[in-house]
């Protein structure tokens, strides 16, 4: 400690430290806080993705396991969960199933459960047994959890599941929500023998999940391919038996 320390001043040291502290606070406010908010909203969306898969599992139990009633409580944070009842007027998207001979021609308006995030543009929808995510205002969508359509090779059977969502009125909720669901009796559609080529058209004017459905229907599990026309039509040939199973789930409350 022989060095000359005449220039050392407590005031300068204090100003230096204060400057560092203020710079630090400034950086955190400018860059750190937005990252935190983004992280929070992406956590909310992630939780909601999981919650939607839970509801999808409940719906599967209602449809495939002969369970008459299900309820599950979930936390809807950072957004709103909305029920869009199916049917001709309310629902936006529709599935049209037809075959080459024209003896099958059924339209389904399955309705949906939709979550919209407040802070980000993410939209998660539970539509016709599939959990689909998309960004509001931009094209494209992806399927988080798939429905259970399948083509059975050895018996050449094509099985289509339609899961309608109905409710007495449109409902929306944020915060703690208890989704209470009941399976309604639907008259079974008898299997159609030798339909030839089966066509499925997905039609949605505003809520666009067409990319997700395209990727699902043309996946190896379902094995359809895109028809030349019209738009968003998929077809599968060499079908000996077409099975359309329609279920209706009533959302009693959320």
């Amino acid at each position: 400690m022989i060095a000359n320390d005449r220039a050392v001043s407590e005031a300068i040291g204090f100003i230096l430290i204060l400057g560092l502290v203020l710079t630090g606070i400034g950086l955190v406010t400018l860059y750190g806080y937005p990252v935190l908010v983004k992280e929070q909203s992406s956590t909310d969306v992630k939780n909601m993705e999981r919650a939607m898969i839970v509801i999808q599992n409940d719906m599967k139990s209602l449809c495939f396991k002969n369970v008459p009633y299900k309820e599950s409580t979930l936390q809807v944070s950072g957004g709103t969960l909305e029920v869009i009842p199916g049917g001709e007027e309310g629902a936006k998207s529709e599935f049209v199933i037809s075959n080459s001979e024209g003896e099958v021609n059924s339209e389904f308006h399955p309705g949906a459960l939709v979550y919209r995030s407040d802070r980000s543009t993410e939209v998660i929808a539970l539509e016709n047994g599939a959990v689909i995510t998309r960004q509001e205002g931009s094209a494209g969508s992806a399927m988080l959890a798939e429905p259970r359509w399948f083509y059975d090779g050895p018996t050449k059977t094509f099985v289509i599941y339609i899961m309608n969502v109905t409710a007495d009125e449109r409902m929306a909720k944020s915060g703690m929500a208890t989704v209470r669901m009941k399976r309604l009796a639907t008259s079974p559609i008898p299997p159609i023998e030798n339909p030839g080529t089966v066509k499925v058209m997905y039609n949605s004017p505003s809520d666009d999940h067409s990319v997700a459905w395209k990727n699902y229907l043309t996946s190896p599990m379902v094995g359809m391919r895109k028809a030349s026309s019209p738009l968003d039509t998929y077809e599968i040939s060499d079908v000996d038996k077409l099975v359309i199973k329609e279920y209706t789930i009533e959302i009693l409350s959320i």
């Binding site: 999981r50 495939f64 002969n66 259970r148 399948f150 050895p154 018996t155 079974p188 099975v243």
Partner: protein, 121 residues
């Protein structure tokens, strides 16, 4: 101040290291929850009882001299109640180790699980 014993500083440093490690572990745990859920679901959904019921129904059908209408009923009921596409075929009796047995091939598919079996009854 300089004369203070500073040999314990590594403890503070280790604390920092542990905190960083915990942060990354938390990230991994956050990612894995979804994977675990879908995997356990797949295990739970294996239709063991459905396949057993189908096998026993087919063996009863063989005992009852293979009635064609019963075969159609088994296929229709499997589709309606269990959402499964099934098909099966029964061959004529063969001599297997001194017993007369029918070769049976069973096909079961419910969209998640496909099951094929060839056996003798």
């Amino acid at each position: 101040m300089a004369r203070l014993n500073e040999e314990g500083q590594w403890i503070v440093l280790m604390g920092l290291l542990v905190a960083v490690a915990l942060f990354f572990l938390a990230l991994i745990v956050n990612q894995s929850a979804l994977v675990g859920q879908t995997t356990s679901e797949a295990v739970l959904e294996f239709p063991k009882n459905d396949i057993r019921d189908l096998r026993s129904a087919i063996f009863d059908y063989i005992d009852a001299e293979c009635n064609e209408e019963v075969e159609q009923d088994i296929i229709a009921i499997s589709l309606e109640r269990k959402n499964a596409v099934v098909s099966f075929s029964v061959g004529g009796p063969q001599d297997v180790q001194g017993h007369k047995m029918h070769p049976v091939s069973i096909h079961y598919n419910n969209g998640v699980t496909a099951y094929n079996e060839t056996t003798h009854y």
